[in-house]
């Protein structure tokens, strides 16, 4: 597919957003490896971390190819600073308690499910191919996090309270997922990506449907945080990246 320079630049930015969402969320989940609440969930969360990092690897490799300056997926993952990361603020939020981890995951998984469903019809074939493979994994992720929201919300008094607190805390980061800018509009105009605003009703319906069954309340509309897509992150990302990148930066090109 021949892209003009502006579209190529827009696609590079968009692929960084997709890839960084997966990389940052995958790393967050990997922090729970050996710290899960129970053996089976430790393994489940680590599996989801691996799926996400695998998707990030494919997306960032494609980003490097589209950029055309010879940067690999590893270059993009390990040798960019906080303000060059384009992930949504939601995915960089710390794990907190189990309910916080699962609320963050659920809100993002439902978004990913609807977004990737649309992206699988992208006119950009390499992107559509990555997405088709990822979608199988995402269908499992959303079942996992949805089932947990159901059990936490409709569980004990304590699990309900923690799940509602977690939702209330994460809700302010959901608006950003549906933002548009000139890059997105340009790509949407060419059928490469969907219009994010058009995903919102489906996302809200899925989220509402499940939260209702989980006896949880949709949080009241309030302040919505934004900035991740332009590199203005919460204070949590820098600390996470320091840990994630230290080895690759201390010993560049290390292999093991």
């Amino acid at each position: 597919m021949n892209l003009d320079d502006t579209t190529r630049g827009a696609l590079f930015q968009y692929l960084l957003r997709l890839g960084d969402d997966k990389l940052v969320l995958g790393h967050r989940l990997s922090e729970l490896c050996a710290h899960g609440p129970i053996l089976e969930q430790d393994i489940a969360l680590t599996n989801i971390a691996l799926d996400s990092i695998g998707q990030a690897q494919a997306l960032l490799k494609l980003a490097g190819d589209v950029e055309g300056e010879g940067r690999t997926a590893d270059d993009l993952a390990y040798h960019r600073d906080e303000y060059d990361f384009r992930n949504a603020l939601l995915v960089e939020q710390p794990n907190g308690d189990f309910a916080t981890t699962l609320a963050r995951q659920f809100l993002f998984d439902v978004f990913g499910y609807h977004l990737y469903g649309e992206l699988s019809r992208s006119t950009h074939e390499p992107l559509a191919a990555i997405v088709a493979k990822a979608l199988k994994e995402i269908r499992y992720h959303v079942r996992h996090s949805g089932d947990w929201m159901l059990r936490l919300g409709d569980g004990t008094e304590e699990s309900h309270r923690r799940a509602q607190d977690a939702l209330d805390q994460m809700w302010m980061y959901t608006d950003e997922l549906f933002e548009s800018d000139e890059h997105v509009r340009r790509l949407a105009g060419q059928g490469i990506v969907p219009d994010p605003e058009a995903l919102r009703p489906a996302w809200l319906e899925t989220v509402k449907g499940l939260l209702e069954r989980a006896t949880l309340e949709i949080p009241e509309p309030g302040y919505m945080a934004t900035g991740g897509r332009t590199g203005r992150h919460t204070e949590h990302l820098g600390h996470m990246l320091a840990e994630m990148q230290i080895l690759a930066r201390s010993i560049p090109g290390a292999e093991w």
């Binding site: 089976e40 489940a44 599996n47 499992y140 996992h144 059990r151």
Partner: protein, 106 residues
Amino acid sequence: MAKEGSDRDDQWLLFEVFLQEKSGQPHQHAGSVRAPDAEMALLNARDVYARREHPISLWVVPATAITATTPGDAEPFFDPADDKVYRHPQFYKTPRGVRFKAGESA
């Protein structure tokens, strides 16, 4: 959370996991998982046992639903088989007529 399958009440229910690798083959015991209910047991079983093996079907069964023999049952249950060779088909000699009929080559 629940008391069944454990003497401590901070443990989830125990489920036994069975995997089927190919269509037509039996489900075989793979191991066990703990989970608060059957649906979650299925997800846990998938994550613990099915990520590398690639089975086509999974069963989870509450461990409490399985009735098993005890070591003390072994003698009365299984030992009598030892000295009853006539229970194996190989014990019987096949008469010549029957033996050759199948091949039709005598």
